[in-house]
């Protein structure tokens, strides 16, 4: 019997830890298959919900000609892009949350609360507002600009943390996040102030976190960035384990600490930038999902990263589903849904963490 320490959650964790005996390989396979199944299930089922009900069998019926297959048109043209966008953004934000938390050695670090999402949003806004004149290249410039914005914000956070040597304390991180968020928001508001009314409404929706993509284009454009970032995450996973235990201990076990930190910050910024370029700065995914995932599979990053990719995808697809059905025919931007869940969750974690 694994010992427990009084909390139901911990005893569940202990039971799972006990299965270490079966070896990491078996757990890895289970977690990866589970994550893929969860994400695929959400992606296939979510497009079925909406004002017009459609049938999955009809949508995938290849014997019907495309032009007359209304179910397939609604599924693939009207709804799937949005669901795919939600899945990709959810994966990216959840996994970069895991990476930021390991790097800063603090379970409360997330792209949103650190101000990295708003940095990315500012980058994207700059291109959208100023670069509007060069509309032909905007589609490619937006993800690049959000990556640059995310990177700028990450550099500031990193410099702050590094200046204190040991310090990635919760209070420093939260203060840095609040400061960066207000600073970037002010700059974003300034851009809005000089923009015309029509684009203000459009960008406001996007700034709230909106997955109402009209086509596959933003997804296809951001996809290469996401693939690179996620590959890096999975390769970095064992080193993130060591870094999250102790930076010196990681170095003493042969980890090139500086290089690992740089690659991790770069790839997490890349994923955050790509996610923001699609859906705007959607908050709290990067903290809710990693926490729930750690409760289920434990903190080992080789398991937590793939699990948060799948779970993050399913989570944001579900949140978006709530957003577009709860007050139908009106739609709530998904960022509002995640904030309503995430705000109280974050406060609860703060209290729990302080104890």
């Amino acid at each position: 019997m694994p010992p427990t320490n009084g909390e139901g959650v911990v005893s569940a964790r202990d039971r799972i830890a006990h299965s270490t005996i079966q070896g990491i390989r078996a757990r890895l396979v289970t977690v990866c298959l589970g994550s893929v199944a969860l994400a695929l299930g959400a992606i296939v089922l979510a497009p079925l919900a909406g004002s017009t009900s459609i049938s999955l069998a009809h949508a995938f019926d290849l014997t019907r000609p495309w032009a007359s297959n209304v179910d397939a048109q609604i599924f693939f043209v009207a709804r799937l892009p949005r669901v795919l966008a939600a899945a990709l953004v959810g994966s990216a934000l959840a996994a970069s949350g895991v990476v930021f938390q390991a790097l800063l050695r603090n379970p409360l670090a997330t792209p949103f609360t650190l101000g990295i999402s708003s940095g990315a949003a500012l980058g994207a806004m700059l291109v959208l507002t100023i670069g509007g004149a060069f509309a032909a290249t905007t589609w490619a410039a937006v993800p690049a600009a959000s990556f640059a914005g995310a990177l700028a914000a990450v550099s500031i956070v990193y410099a702050l943390a590094a200046a204190r040597h040991r310090g990635f304390s919760t209070s420093v991180l939260l203060l840095a996040g609040v400061t960066l968020n207000s600073f970037f928001s002010a700059l974003i508001l300034m851009l809005q102030y000089f923009a015309d009314m029509a684009s203000v409404m459009q960008t406001l929706r996007w700034l709230l976190g909106d997955l109402d993509v009209a086509s596959y284009t933003p997804i296809v454009v951001a996809l290469p960035m996401l693939v690179v970032a996620i590959t890096a995450f999975l390769v970095l996973a064992p080193r993130l384990n060591l870094l999250s235990v102790s930076i010196d201990a990681a170095a003493m076990r042969g980890v090139d600490v500086v290089r690992t930190q740089r690659i991790s910050f770069l790839s997490a910024s890349l994923a955050t930038g790509a996610a923001v370029s699609i859906g705007g700065p959607i908050g709290f995914v990067g903290i809710i999902v990693p926490h729930l995932v750690r409760l289920i599979v434990g903190p080992d990053h080789r398991l937590a990263l793939p699990a948060s990719l799948g779970f993050g995808a399913a989570f944001l697809v579900a949140c978006d589903l709530v957003g577009r059905t709860v007050i139908a025919p009106l739609e709530l931007p998904v960022g509002i849904v995640t904030a309503v869940i995430g705000g109280p969750f974050f406060l609860w974690l703060l209290v729990k963490h302080a104890q």
């Binding site: 830890a17 006990h18 270490t20 003493m252």
Partner: protein, 266 residues
């Protein structure tokens, strides 16, 4: 054999330039199979810096650190890690890892690119837990352990690393006397049975007297005394080191020298 030859190191200052206040100056030390060396010195005397130089966490400004005669910098990082491990004063993982999770992480320098442990790694981790008396705790969360148990787990991780040299940076400083004795006994046993070379920095003169074969005394980064414990642990040396008068005498029941600090000399 891990050797430092005339190493010096100064931490870079914020405004660049001035490196005159060296943390370690011209220190030489050898840690080989079965040696058990204590590093003594007041706060800021360079003990931790010396350990970091030996563990390649820092690179010396002058002098060389070699492993089997080859400069440490010329070895691949993971190859050094297979030979030299470190036990810090305290370990605070950011997440709730289990004991077995943490000990298995000691296998990292032995694993391939994907860093996935196999059955032999698990067997080595279990053996390390047995050697430190922590077998029964393997599925416990590290955060729920006492200070002494945590240190045993960290030492088990170092054993799982299969290094032949352990650098211990004040490993008992945050433990109560009971746990201090336990860890001391464990270190003596590992030194004897596994022929591990141990280098231990400490402020606990009685711990050093009870376990260390040899001592190195550091003051302002320089070695002011070195040799077998019985020869160098003298009232005169303690006075030079800490500026205190101390009574040093052999304790027949303990079987080693004991030090009672008497008063500060100003």
């Amino acid at each position: 054999m891990l050797s430092a030859r005339n190493v010096s190191f100064a931490y870079p200052t914020r405004r660049g330039g001035d490196r005159s206040r060296a943390a370690v100056r011209n220190v030489s030390i050898d840690v080989g199979q079965g040696t058990f060396i204590g590093v003594l010195g007041p706060n800021g005397s360079g003990k931790s810096t010396l350990l970091k130089l030996l563990g390649r966490l820092l690179t010396p400004d002058a002098g060389t650190v070699t492993l089997d005669g080859r400069p440490l910098g010329a070895w691949p990082r993971q190859a050094v890690a297979r030979r030299v491990a470190m036990v810090p004063q305290e370990t605070h993982p950011a997440f709730d890892y289990t004991v077995l999770d943490l000990v298995l992480m000691g296998r990292y320098p032995h694993l391939g690119a994907l860093a996935i442990e196999g059955p032999s790694d698990l067997a080595i981790a279990r053996d390390a837990l047995r050697a430190t008396g922590m077998s029964a705790f393997e599925s416990r969360l590290f955060s729920t352990l006492s200070g002494g148990e945590k240190q045993r787990v960290v030492i088990a991780g170092a054993l799982a690393q299969q290094a032949d040299v352990l650098l211990l940076d004040e490993p008992t400083a945050s433990l109560d006397p009971g746990h201090q004795l336990e860890i001391a006994a464990l270190l003596v046993e590992l030194n004897r049975t596994r022929a591990l070379g141990l280098l231990l920095s400490t402020h606990d003169l009685n711990l050093a007297a009870s376990v260390c074969h040899d001592l190195v005394m550091l003051s302002e980064g320089m070695v002011i005394g070195t040799g077998p414990t019985g020869d160098v642990l003298t009232g005169a040396n303690i006075e030079r080191l800490y500026g205190i008068r101390a009574d040093v005498r052999f304790h027949p029941e303990a079987g080693h020298l004991t030090v009672v600090p008497l008063r500060h000399l100003s």
